[in-house]
Each structure stands twice: as structure tokens, then as C-alpha cells.
């Protein structure tokens, strides 16, 4: 029972009483509210950051520094007319926004945003659920998120959304592969699927932990691949082909108005936040970071606040990178995007996983690690050379990829 539900110490006693239920309920509510508020703040922050990069002021009217702008937009959109095109598939058209936003919430549930704390006398992790299959859950939910976008475009019964839908299918499916392989790069090293275990393996010991414990350095290539693939998964620039404004007007959401449009909008930015949180969890040690040295390790500040602070800081840093990329990159073209995914990212990710697996096996079998590394990289280089010869060069065949 306990293993199926979660690995959380909350359920270790095997007895799920009212107080345990209450703790879970509180955690769910807090996670829900946290994600909504952070999306609101992220949209505001993104607009402010981009405004700074583009010599503009950005939102500055609603609330202090315009911080309530997103809320105002949401309220406005809530009261606007919601139209459905005559040619639309009405059921799917209404369903699509929710299909898009639900996975974002569900994905956030398994992100550890803090360490182990005590609530009402119950020991528990600061995450809604610590699934034994956490990493698979990430893949499943990010895969499900595609459906919202794809069905929205298809159900609109209109041409531009249809094109956006077709693009979404191709793009998201392709990058799902690179995305999974990027995560696999970490899993091979971590040897577990549970997000809490992955994070606790990257715990903070001293200042060297930044390079010795966190996975971003030993799994640097998967880290980069993960970031690129996650950007493509979330339809963020420079991979925002699905809603490319200059080409497809609005892409999949062209026909959407009012709160349904707002939900798509929210889902997109929510996905960015959850993806940054996943990247933090997998590669940047999640909530691990130095505590306040002048307080004891068991102090409430050190168990509650500091992990959440470090987690938030890392997520914000990653979010800033996405905003930075958004402000400075032109949009990729569809065929180049597919070529990047299939010709480069997937190949490199596969080779990396194989090399990483070889090193892990060498560790277990007590082989000479350096010889293994050398041989593994040699074989990888050989394989890549063969692949390179097999792949058509940019000016050779383009037709097949369309």
C-alpha cells in the first residue's frame, strides 16, 4: 500500500487517519495555489524582464509595479464573450484547454520543493506525492500536455489552427524523444525514478557539492538537451512554431477567446514553470543548498525555509534563461526544428546514455574506469562517425523531412 501510494514517510505507518488526510489536502491546496500564483508572477516578471531588454517599461499600472497585471488580464478575459466557430467540434473544442492545463498541475505534484518537515507531528516531504515512478510520471504528463494543443487546433475547424495542430503533433512528438533521453541521462546515474531520491542524492555537503553532487556537470550533455527539448515541449521561443504569430496568426489558439484562451495561456506558462522545476530537480539538486550556518541544522528556518528558498532561486534562474532566450532569438523554421531534434539531439542523447551506462557498469564491476570511459567514448565517436556519414548533409536531401 505504502509503496503504491508514495514513498512519503507520512504513509510509512500504514495507517491513513484523518490528520494524514488533512496534511495531504493542505499540501494539494498549497501546491495548486503556489503554481497559480507563481504563474501570475512569472508572466508579470517575464513582461518586466523583456520590457527591460527591449527598452520598454512593461506593465506598471495594475498594482504596485504592475504586479497585478496578469490578474487584471485574467478577470477581463473571464468576462469576455467565448465564441465557438460553426465548423468546430464543440465538445473537443471546450475540452482542449482543460486537457492542456491539467497535466501541468499533475506534473507539479511530484516536484520536491523542500526537504523533510514535520506537519502536525507527521514527518513528510514537502511535495504533494513522491511516486516510485516519478520520472515516468514526468514523461507521461508532458506527453499528455500535447493533446490539449493538438486537439484544440484540430477541433477549431479552421485552417490556421489546423496548421498549428499539425506542427504541434510533429514538434512535440519529436522532442518528446529527446526529452525522455535527456531525463534518462540522469536516471542512469541516479538509479532511481523517485524524484525525492534523485534530489537527496544531490544533497548539499559543502561548496564542492555544486559540482560534485549536482547532476548538471556529470550529466551536462543531457542537461543541455533537456533544456532545449523542454523549451520545444512548452512551445516557448525560439520553438514557438505552434503558435507562430507571424505565420499562423495564433496557431492552435487562433479561434479561442475569453477564458478558454486565458487557460491556454496559463497552461503554457505553467508548463514553463513546471519544466524549470523538473530541470531543477533532476540537474540542479532541487531544494539542496547551504543552510544558515549560525543556526542548528534542525532549526525550522533550515528545514523549512532555506530548501524552499534555494529551490525557488534555481527555478527563477532557469525562468530567466527562458525569458532571455525569448527576447534574443528569432523563431526557427519547421524543417530545421525537426532536423535539430531528429538529427542531432536524439543521436547525442542516445550516445550519452550508452556511455553513461557503460561507466555505471564499470563502477559496479570494478573495471578500470578510465579505460571504460576511453573505450565508451571511442565507440561513441565511431558510432557518431558512421551516423554522420549516413545522415544527408544540409544541402543534399531536404524533401524527405517535410
Amino acid at each position: 500500500m505504502s509503496h503504491l501510494l508514495a514513498l512519503d514517510p507520512l504513509f510509512q505507518s500504514g495507517h491513513v487517519g484523518f490528520s494524514v488526510f488533512l496534511v495531504v489536502a493542505v499540501k494539494v491546496l498549497v501546491a495548486f495555489a503556489l503554481l497559480l500564483v507563481s504563474v501570475m508572477l512569472y508572466i508579470w516578471g517575464m513582461r518586466k524582464w523583456i520590457a527591460d531588454m527591449q527598452n520598454r517599461i512593461g506593465p506598471n499600472t495594475a498594482g504596485p509595479w504592475g504586479i497585478l497585471q496578469t490578474l487584471a488580464d485574467g478577470i477581463k478575459l473571464f468576462f469576455k464573450e467565448q465564441s465557438i466557430p460553426d465548423s468546430a467540434d464543440r465538445v473537443v473544442f471546450r475540452l482542449a484547454p482543460y486537457l492542456s492545463i491539467m497535466p501541468a498541475f499533475l506534473l507539479f505534484c511530484i516536484i520536491p520543493i523542500g526537504g523533510q518537515v514535520s506537519i502536525f507531528g507527521h514527518q513528510t516531504f514537502l511535495q504533494v506525492a513522491d511516486l516510485p515512478i516519478g520520472a515516468l510520471w514526468i514523461l507521461a504528463m508532458s506527453g499528455l500536455g500535447v493533446y490539449g494543443v493538438m486537439l484544440a487546433g484540430w477541433a477549431s475547424g479552421s485552417k490556421y489552427p489546423l496548421l498549428g495542430s499539425v506542427r504541434a503533433t510533429g514538434q512535440l512528438l519529436s522532442y518528446e524523444a529527446a526529452f525522455s533521453l535527456g531525463i534518462l541521462g540522469v536516471l542512469v546515474r541516479a538509479g532511481t525514478l523517485s524524484t525525492h531520491d534523485i534530489v537527496s542524492q544531490q544533497r548539499w555537503v559543502n561548496w564542492h557539492s555544486f559540482v560534485s553532487q549536482w547532476y548538471w556537470l556529470p550529466a551536462f550533455v543531457p542537461f543541455v538537451i533537456f533544456l532545449i527539448a523542454a523549451t520545444a515541449e512548452t512551445n516557448h521561443p525560439p520553438f514557438d512554431l505552434v503558435e507562430a504569430e507571424q505565420e499562423l496568426v495564433g496557431g492552435f489558439n487562433t479561434e479561442y477567446t475569453g477564458i478558454r484562451f486565458a487557460i491556454f495561456f496559463l497552461a503554457e506558462f505553467m508548463n514553463v514553470i513546471t519544466m524549470s522545476a523538473v530541470a531543477t530537480t533532476l540537474f540542479l539538486g532541487g531544494p539542496s543548498g547551504p543552510g544558515l550556518g549560525f543556526l542548528s541544522a534542525g532549526n525550522a528556518l533550515n528545514t523549512w525555509l532555506m530548501p524552499v528558498f534555494w529551490f525557488g532561486l534555481k527555478v527563477i534562474a532557469l525562468l530567466f534563461v527562458t525569458v532571455w532566450v525569448r527576447a534574443s532569438m528569432p523563431r526557427m523554421r519547421y524543417d530545421r526544428l525537426m532536423a535539430l531534434g531528429w538529427k542531432y539531439l536524439i543521436e547525442i542523447a542516445i550516445l550519452w546514455v550508452l556511455v553513461a551506462a557503460a561507466i555505471e557498469v564499470a563502477n559496479v564491476q570494478n573495471w578500470n574506469v578510465w579505460a571504460t570511459v576511453l573505450i565508451a567514448f571511442g565507440s561513441a565517436a565511431l558510432a557518431y562517425g558512421v551516423l554522420y556519414l549516413a545522415i544527408p548533409k544540409p544541402d543534399e536531401v531536404v524533401e524527405e523531412f517535410r
Binding site: I50, M53, Q54, N55, R56, K159, Y160, L163, V166, R167, P237, P238, D240, L241, A244, E245, Q246, E247, L248, V249, R326, A327, S328, M329, P330, R331, M332, R333, Y334, D335, R336, D395, V398, E399, R402
Partner: protein
């Protein structure tokens, strides 16, 4: 499907050479049914050409006829530069054909021009190419002056030249902004506008208006330069130069930008000449044709500048040419600041230019001249004339027929955008939707000038 891969120049002889000879053996009923299968509203408008194309087996693959989709890009669309409507026939993402539909901004300005006196004329023509109003005013004024057979004072000539170049700067900066936007570099849009705003600020200071200035008029310019214009201009030149270096840094080396633009929408010099394309598009194909050098007008033979041209004729080259032309314009403006001759800024013929405002209070003749000029205008000897100058978009020409009265009998403006827009079809054929957007953007059409 198309035997051409993207990146190769879309040769124009596919419509003229091969197609006429290769009329295929297609059953006429078959064509009818195929055409009817396209129930899209757009198919009706494409019908004439569709029939020809099926007959000649041109670029429409017979087997895939029913797989194509006709999509209307515009007149309301984020990247159509106003109200250009592009009917695109798509085979999934690939553009099979593209047909620009124009006329959404047609306001009959040439016809209106026949109803306006020569004094009122510049107010009218300045609204055609609203991103480069001074070129329109200049070419109109030069045509009228040639009919009148008058010479403007040197200061007026130099002021005109300076404004031409400032105008080229503002227009190309606008291009950088919209082109960046169309390819997805949204920050570029604001950077381009930021520098353009500085140029417009100078326009406003001198002419009172940011656009549709009506500053260059037959006989000279409307007003002298404001005190302190030299300092303003030198500061402006420094700002814009710095901006251009920044754009270069931001985009020219950016791998995504290079991927999106290099080898896209290639034209050859022959293509351009056969389509009457001028300006940066022609120069991007390796033909250094610039009216400022080829038939110098104003004082262009007295200033030192280079004609920028490149060899590849793709979207990237057009972007680069417009970027570096800004630097050349800065060079000319700096020389104008150095060498601006003193003297009058308009001819002192009171039949053509109005008397100073102060004279009207004290001089009966001035009052009469002023009254006559703004009610009747001035009479222009009968005859016809064509003048042309190099606008930021290419050769802008003005053709005027006069019957000796104070209004032209016929006014025609050769708007370069109109001719350049023809290149969208051969360039976009066989490209992707995203390329089509980049291509139309690289043509830099101003719809006010296309439709007039």
C-alpha cells in the same frame, strides 16, 4: 512534387519557356471536376490561373491536386505589412503557389492628384509611401520643376538630399524592425523603432510632422533648418550608427537568423530585370544599380558614398544591404552637415513659392501672391515629364502631363513597392510558410505605395 529544392533560384523561364511547349493531354472534363473539388472560396479567384496551370502542367502536380489547401494570409494578418492579402496554396507546409491580392488600401491618390493644384500636390503624394514620404515629395517636386524649367537654390538641393538620406535611414530602420519581427526576433522590432524614433524626432523638429511631412515642395523646401540642427544631426548619426552595429551583432551571426534567411527567396539579376524590380532587391543579386550613382540628381555627384551590393540575392543579403545602406546614408548626412551651403531654401519667385508670413501684413503684392498661390496655384507649361529618384525601396518615378493649367492632367507615380511585390510569387514558390513570410518581409512593400 516540385522538382526544385528550396534554395535554388526559382527560374522564371518555367512559366515562359517550358510551360508553353508542354500543353499536356488532359481531358477537359477532368480539369473541371478537379477544379470543382476545390470548394474553398479562394479557388474561385484562382480559377483562371488554375486552369492554365493544369493545362500546361506547370507547377501544379496533378496527383496532389486535392491535397492542397488554399489559405488566405491577410488582409488582416500580423505579418502582411498593412493590408496585403496573400492567397497561398499549401501542400502541408509547403507553398505551392502564392498570389498577392492588392487594392485594400486603394484610395485613388493618382486620380485625386489630378484634382489638386501643383501647390497641393506634395500633400497628396507624400501619403503614398508613408515610410519614405520625402522621396515621394522630391520626385513630384522635381517633375514639376522640370516642367517649370526652374533650378532650386543649392541650399534647397542639399537640404533635400539630406532629408532623402535621413528618410532612407528611417525607412531601413523600419524595415529592420518589421523584418526582425516577421522572422520572430521580437526585440529587433523595438530596437529598430527606437532608432527610427530619433530620426522622426528630427523630422518633427524641422518639418513639424513625423510623417506625411509635405516638406519638399516645388521650388524648394517649406522651411529652413532649425537653429542647432548640426548638433542634432551629428548626435543622431552617432546614435543610429551605434544601433546599426548592435543589430549587426544581434542578428548577422545568429545561427537561427542565418538558417532562416540564407538561401531563402533567391532571385537572379535576370529575374529582377524582367520583373522591373529595383532597389535593394536588385542590388542583392549583384547588380549595383542605384539611381544616385547611375543618373545623379540633387548633389549626389558631390558627396562620397558607396553603393552596397551583394551576390546571393537571398533574404539575408537584402537584410544586409539595408543594414549597410544606413551606414552609407549616415556618411552622406555627415557630409551634408559639413558642406551645407548658405543661402535661400527656396526659389524667390513669388509665383511659385509663398511670400514670408510677415510680408503679407505690409505688402499688398505679397497678400495677392499668397492668395493666388493657395487658391489657384501656379500655371505650369504644357508638356509631359518623367523624373525618377532612388527611394529606399527602389526607383520611384513621377510622370506628369500638363496642359498648361494649374493642375496636372495626368499624374502617375511609379511606386517601387508595386513592382517589387511581383517578386513574391517566384521567390515563395516551393518554399515553406515561414519562408513566405520572410520573403514578403524582405520585399519591404509599403501598401500605401502599392495601391496608391
Amino acid at each position: 512534387m516540385s522538382d526544385k529544392t528550396r534554395g535554388e533560384p526559382p527560374s522564371t523561364d518555367s512559366t515562359s519557356g517550358e510551360s508553353t511547349s508542354a500543353i499536356k493531354n488532359v481531358d477537359p472534363d477532368e480539369i473541371e471536376t478537379r477544379l470543382e473539388r476545390q470548394t474553398d472560396e479562394g479557388a474561385q479567384e484562382l480559377r483562371t490561373t488554375s486552369r492554365e496551370l493544369v493545362l500546361t502542367g506547370g507547377m501544379w502536380p496533378e496527383d496532389e491536386l486535392s491535397d492542397t489547401m488554399i489559405i488566405n494570409m491577410g488582409p488582416q494578418h500580423p505579418s502582411t505589412h498593412g493590408v496585403l492579402r496573400l492567397m497561398m496554396e499549401l501542400d502541408s507546409e509547403e507553398v505551392v503557389r502564392i498570389k498577392p491580392v492588392i487594392g485594400y488600401l486603394h484610395t485613388g491618390m493618382e486620380k485625386t492628384g489630378e484634382d489638386l493644384t501643383y501647390v497641393q500636390g506634395p500633400t497628396n503624394v507624400t501619403r503614398m509611401d508613408y515610410a519614405a514620404p520625402f522621396s515621394n515629395e522630391l520626385v513630384y517636386s522635381m517633375a514639376v520643376e522640370r516642367l517649370l524649367d526652374i533650378d532650386v537654390p543649392p541650399r534647397a538641393t542639399w537640404i533635400r538630399m539630406m532629408f532623402q538620406e535621413l528618410n532612407r535611414m528611417s525607412s531601413h530602420l523600419l524595415f529592420q524592425a518589421t523584418n526582425g519581427m516577421d522572422i520572430g526576433a521580437v526585440s529587433m522590432m523595438l530596437y529598430g523603432w527606437r532608432e527610427r524614433e530619433e530620426v522622426l524626432r528630427f523630422f518633427e523638429k524641422t518639418t513639424g510632422l513625423r510623417m506625411n511631412n509635405n516638406y519638399i515642395r516645388p521650388g524648394g523646401v517649406a522651411a529652413d533648418l532649425q537653429p542647432g540642427w548640426q548638433e542634432d544631426l551629428l548626435a543622431l548619426c552617432d546614435t543610429v550608427e551605434e544601433g546599426v552595429r548592435d543589430y549587426d551583432e544581434l542578428l548577422s551571426q545568429n545561427p537561427i537568423w542565418v538558417e532562416r534567411t540564407v538561401g531563402v527567396g533567391v532571385l537572379t539579376t535576370e529575374d529582377c530585370l524582367s520583373l522591373s524590380i529595383t532597389g535593394p532587391i536588385l542590388r542583392s543579386t549583384g547588380f549595383a544599380w542605384d539611381l544616385r550613382k547611375a543618373q545623379p540628381y540633387l548633389a549626389y555627384d558631390e558627396v562620397d558614398f558607396d553603393v552596397i551590393y551583394t551576390e546571393n540575392g537571398d533574404v539575408f543579403d537584402r537584410y544586409r544591404i539595408r543594414l549597410y545602406e544606413v551606414l552609407e546614408s549616415i556618411k552622406i548626412v555627415r557630409q551634408c552637415v559639413e558642406a551645407m551651403p548658405p543661402g535661400d531654401y527656396r526659389v524667390q519667385d513669388k509665383k511659385i513659392t509663398p511670400p514670408p508670413r510677415a510680408r503679407i501684413d505690409e505688402s499688398m503684392e505679397a497678400l495677392i501672391h499668397h492668395f493666388k498661390l493657395f487658391t489657384e496655384g501656379f500655371k505650369v507649361p504644357a508638356g509631359e515629364v518623367y523624373t525618377s529618384v532612388e527611394s529606399p525601396r527602389g526607383e520611384i518615378g513621377c510622370y506628369i502631363v500638363s496642359d498648361g493649367s494649374s493642375k496636372p492632367v495626368r499624374l502617375h507615380i511609379r511606386g517601387p513597392s508595386f513592382y517589387n511585390l511581383q517578386s513574391a510569387e517566384p521567390m515563395a514558390r516551393g518554399s515553406l510558410v515561414a519562408d513566405a513570410v520572410a520573403i514578403v518581409s524582405s520585399v519591404d512593400p509599403i501598401m500605401g505605395e502599392v495601391d496608391r
